[in-house]
Symmetry: C2
């Protein structure tokens, strides 16, 4: 069976987000003064083959630990759904 796994990778609280900070600064320079905060995050959309949802969730968890995220600075959420 095929599953779609979405991995949402955000920065931990207290970790600086230079891309978000620059976006905010530039929006202000462009006249969008009503923007009070800007954050950015990354998402991976994976198409994964597996027996069942639990197996795929475990696999994606391993992928996060080994490649997709950096545990020092990132938090992540995994959403798995059947295609």
């Amino acid at each position: 069976m095929m599953f779609e796994a979405q991995v949402i990778v955000k920065l931990k609280k207290g970790i600086s987000d230079p891309e978000g900070a620059n976006t905010l600064k530039t929006l202000h320079l462009l006249g969008f003064e009503n923007v009070k905060d800007a954050k950015t995050f990354h998402t991976f959309d994976l198409l994964v083959e597996g027996k069942n949802k639990e197996n795929v969730e475990k696999d994606v968890e391993k992928m996060c630990q080994r490649l997709l995220t950096n545990p020092v600075i990132h938090t992540y959420k995994i959403k798995v759904s059947e295609v």
Copy 2:
């Protein structure tokens, strides 16, 4: 009133996604052969002050056109909700 605006920026169909392609290749090298496709996309989380939801949506639409996205290669979705 304060609103949270989420801008999800994806690559248009046919535009190459080298980050996704490299992620897929590396997952295979790590032994995760059951991953069949990998795509990446970017999200901006904005905190915006405005009179009402419609105004904020219009403002964020302008921000997308002027800064947040590149119309040549990106498609985007805007989700606005009251905080």
